[in-house]
């Protein structure tokens, strides 16, 4: 049997122990100060935040979100229910587990709508828009999150389609109820990627 030939003399027991402990220590420091903050956002010493490493652990913004983040004054969220009676549209949809659907309003540039929607359970949503000129490649997202309600004012940054994508990630059905008021030109429902025009239906 050929044993690997060691040219270097084996270190003494003491040197080996100190060296191994140093290796462990260096690894522990590198982990705590650099790797864990950068990879997992775990930052017990605060060094990761000071070095700007914890930013690496945050999920990156999509191109759509970056475009949306450059806009100001598009979306103004409100804590209060919308004080309007002149609803132009009301829409209710039930989503099965992991089903997603999209509702878009046709809005002219500068058109301001007040809206509120509420879901019977936590729902993933993405408020986004794209202009008629340029199409979906210029899609912008203004709010990507999960929640049970959203209310406020939306001012169309351009003429195009503006609205929400909702996805139910629970194991039970949920219902989303949306109301909107303002100069809405029309609405389109996107289900499984295919658009269907739908007439606005103001509440009775």
């Amino acid at each position: 049997m050929t044993e690997p030939v060691s040219i270097a003399p084996a270190p003494s027991r003491k040197k080996l122990l100190i060296g191994s402990a140093a290796a462990l220590g260096v690894a522990a420091v590198a982990l705590v100060v650099f790797v864990l903050p950068a990879e997992y956002g775990i930052d017990p010493t605060g060094a990761g935040a000071a070095l700007g490493l914890t930013k690496l652990a945050e999920p990156g913004l999509s191109e759509e979100q970056i475009r949306g983040a450059r806009r100001t004054g598009v979306l103004t969220l409100s804590d209060q229910p919308t004080q309007r009676e002149d609803w132009a549209d009301e829409w209710q949809v039930t989503l099965r587990p992991y089903e997603g659907i999209e509702l878009k309003y046709t809005l002219d540039q500068g058109a301001a709508i007040d809206f509120e929607w509420e879901a019977t359970d936590t729902v993933e949503y993405d408020l986004h828009s794209h202009p008629f000129e340029g199409g979906t490649e210029l899609t912008e997202s203004y709010a990507v999150d999960d929640g049970q309600r959203m209310q406020g004012r939306y001012v169309a940054p351009f003429t195009g389609l503006h609205g929400w994508y909702w996805q139910n990630r629970n194991l039970e059905d949920l219902t989303v109820t949306l109301r909107a008021a303002g100069p809405i030109g029309g609405s389109t429902v996107f289900e499984m990627g295919s658009p269907t025009e739908r007439p606005l239906s103001p509440p009775e």
């Binding site: 140093a22 290796a23 690894a27």
Partner: protein
Amino acid sequence: MTASPLRPRALLAIGAVLLVLVLFLLAVPAFAHDISDADRAAVAQIKGPAPFAFLYLGAKHMVTGIDHVLFLIGVIFFLYRLRDVVIYVSMFTIGHSLTLLGGVLLNTGANAYIVDAIIGFSVVYKAFENLGGLRKIGLAIDTKLAVLVFGLFHGLGLATKVRDLGLSDDGLLPNLIAFNVGVEVGQVMVLAVVVTLLNLWRATRSFASGAFYVNLALMAGGFALIGYQLTGYFTS
């Protein structure tokens, strides 16, 4: 043999060298090691045999996979005869091929974090063994057998990465074999560089003293990999 305690200055120097090495080594896996989203999206579109695509992915995984590279460096660190290199690398190849092919075909697998933590441990083990540490603590473990066994774990890790690619059943076997061959191609590429550099260094005076510190650096890299993977396991 009398113990030669390390002076503080030497310790400081070791620490600095190890730190730089670890940082350098850790910068790589963070970006390169996991199958990238682009590769995954490309594979998702592949139906049927695509040998060259998988050959490339296998080689890429090996060349950019710092855990496999560190282990290989450890394995061949003190081997200078080509024959020994071939024997030991063959043990590693047999080990990882068995579990790569078996793991994917039988659709069995273990938790990827745990497997990757064991792979990190294989680096620590090999470095410790290189320093004669096992003999010092009274263990006599066959070095070839150890490489074979750790090869099995490296293969399990490879299998989880292949599964992560979302391989289609259509053309599974040829694609898997192509990936495995790619892994060996990548391994030869890594070895060619490492063996050459080590042999150049071995011929110099600094090898005898430097070998100790390089193996400590390997050990530190292994420890860091273990901590990185275990943290992933406990937080996921």
